[in-house]
Amino acid sequence: MDIKAYIASGIVETYVLGMASPAEKAEFEKLAEIYPELVSARNEFELGLEEKAFANAIPPPFEVKERVLDLISQEAAVEAVKRIMYEESNPPPVRKISSMRWAVTTSIVLLVGSLTFIYWLYTKNQQLKADIAQSKETLEQLDQQKRSFEEATLPENSSAKQVKVITPETVPATINVFWDSTNTHVYLVIRDLIKLAENEKYQLWSITKGKYQSLGLFDAPDNDKLVLKLNNSQQAEAFAISIAKKLQVEPSKADTTH
């Protein structure tokens, strides 16, 4: 670039007097960084203009100076208040960005945490469901076992006590009675009960204060053991088994012992 021609074009004066277009201004400032002679030319014109301007300058009236300084200090005070208000209502952008970043980071962490927790809950729930199903199954099995146990054997209850059962001499059965004192249930475990004729049935009696009460008819079991669960709310002292023919009640001699 022919910088001498550029300087001689009048651009220095145009620039200094504030008449350059934005494009001319930008070009001038860029070239001034590269060419020291351009800066020298600018300085020369500036200083010449300044000297000339001061030579015949008439100072303005004193009150104008006072008013100007007053206006500037007022303006400065207003600016300061504005700045404080602005800073109070608008935190610095850097802080804004960092707090926004912080919020985003926190949100992401919380989201990931929530999703992990939800997944954990879901897994746990499935596991619990499976556990419940298994427990139900186990419970059912236990229930069934208990039922068959109740039917087949005696409850292993320490509070159960044995009472005697009167049986007819013709019936060579072994009968044990277990009385659960915690409730009103009585279990009769009858073994080796012989089969009766078709028109005959066994009849069970409870004996309370010397009185006989029929508890019902039953047949000899197919297997060797029969467990009868009875409700003994009447608090029977003993039980008796008789053979009934055609529903005809015929109690045998009783021997009430405890």
């Binding site: 001689a8 074009s9 009048g10 651009i11 220095v12 004066e13 145009t14 620039y15 200094v16 007097l17 504030g18 008449m19 400032e29 001034a32 600018r42 300085n43 020369e44 014109f45 500036e46 200083l47 010449g48 203009l49 300044e50 000297e51 000339k52 301007a53 001061f54 030579a55 015949n56 300058a57 008439i58 100072p59 303005p60 009236p61 104008v64 100076k65 008013r67 100007v68 300084l69 206006l71 500037i72 200090s73 303006e75 400065a76 600016e79």
Partner: protein
């Protein structure tokens, strides 16, 4: 009488940006007279002092934009003052014709008649290149060249 403190241009710029009232007093004492002369060539006499006040207020409000690497402080003050005065002139729709009184107007007055007219219209009356092109019945590019050529002579006239 108060003795003006002496500032380096960097110190002065910093103090002005800090709204230091002594620094403003300093630049008023030093530059207001010269700025007033320029204003007097742009706006009517009765508006000169208020325009000066407005210029200083604008200087105080715009001082943050001043870059000492780009020009001297007085150059920048002169540019701001000219803009404020031209705005005032436009607002008042003044048809005031410029005189050759004052440093810059006097300098412009030393140019030949054609150049003097162009620079006065452009610098003191706020005519754009297009306005001047219309006035002289030439193209805006030619008007721009003519203005620069006229201004290039100013340095030699100082």
């Amino acid at each position: 009488m108060k003795i003006n403190p002496s500032y380096s241009s960097a110190e002065l710029t910093t103090l002005l940006k800090q709204k230091n009232s002594e620094a403003y007093e300093y630049i008023f004492d030093k530059y207001a007279g010269a700025l007033l002369e320029l204003i007097a060539n742009i706006v009517p006499e009765e508006e000169v002092l208020t325009t000066l006040e407005e210029s200083f207020l604008t200087i105080s409000q715009s001082i943050g934009d001043y870059d000492p690497n780009k020009c001297r402080l007085f150059t920048w003050l002169l540019q701001i003052t000219r803009e404020v005065a031209l705005q005032k002139r436009k607002y008042l729709k003044t048809k005031l014709s410029s005189t050759n009184n004052g440093a810059i107007a006097g300098l412009i007055g030393k140019l030949n008649n054609e150049q003097q007219e162009i620079v006065q219209l452009h610098y003191l009356n706020g005519y754009s290149n297009e306005d001047i092109a219309k006035q002289l019945n030439i193209s805006p590019a030619t008007a721009s060249e003519k203005i620069k050529t006229a201004l290039s002579n100013l340095n030699s006239l100082l």
